[in-house]
Symmetry: C2
């Protein structure tokens, strides 16, 4: 099962492509899609949409996991984060990829068993699960891999203590 | 000049296609894209994106005008409105259509000369400008035509008292 985790934002979006089997996880690719501060909102959304479509085509993605919490410093940043998520969700929908949303707490709980784990603890557990040093990655890429692992745990182990949520 | 006005929302998006010349406006098409409440967010965004692309292809749109104010009853509705706008903006960007954003106050001021005009007053003025009875249209379609007229006034009369804003 190939899962695309995406930690979306207008200027810097992390992504992680995870090959997940019942007992092993492999990070096939990960990185960030950056948008220069001089680009207009619309230009950023187009780059984001194209980047996601490229990943879907390259890695034959089965499902996507995005950050689903509703929050924002203020109404403007919330709306702009919404723009970026809308562009990403639409790109995934064009390829019929089911999109699942997880809160940061769910991701931490899934990776480390504790919803209150620190960024450092989560990084250590992800490094162990993926057999690679995630501390060298950009934070947004690590967060995206965390999202993918969260979904893998729900998808591969549901029926057990995990339950797969409805796609959004 | 063909201008597409779009009053975006996840469940009901109004659109209006305006042919604008220096001294005359014609509503070429208008209506709403509705999404059933049972559709997922992602399905709504896909329908919205496809609907906008269809309009762009059918009417050879030169520019688009959207509602640009940042507001929301709460963080969740703001974010979801952001999803919808993001899908629309990305669809327009794919066709290289410049997107301009106007606040409700700017639209009212442009249509009626007064930023505080009532919905009824705006409808009466739009009816006069378009030589049609807009009171029979759905509100969202009327609002979309208002956005298109607002942009037409800025685009065709800039250099005068109007100034064209930067595309978003």
């Amino acid at each position: 099962m190939i899962i695309l985790g995406i930690d979306t934002a207008l200027r810097c979006t992390g992504y992680g492509v995870l090959r997940a089997e019942q007992d092993s996880f492999e990070a096939v690719d990960c990185g960030v899609i950056k948008n220069h501060k001089d680009l207009s909102h619309t230009q950023c959304l187009l780059r984001l949409s194209r980047g996601v479509k490229e990943l879907v085509k390259t890695f034959k993605i089965d499902a996507a996991a995005i950050e689903g919490a509703f929050f924002g410093k203020n109404v403007k940043t919330t709306m702009i984060l919404g723009y970026a998520r809308g562009a990403v969700m639409t790109a995934l929908a064009e390829y019929g990829i089911p999109v699942y949303a997880y809160s940061p707490k769910e991701v931490k709980a899934s990776a480390g068993g504790i919803g209150t784990a620190s960024k450092f603890q989560v990084a250590a557990i992800l490094s162990s699960l993926l057999n690679m040093d995630v501390s060298k990655l950009e934070y947004d890429a690590t967060d995206a891999l965390g999202l993918a692992i969260c979904h893998a745990n729900k998808a591969l182990r549901s029926g057990n203590e995990y339950t797969l949520p409805k796609p959004i």
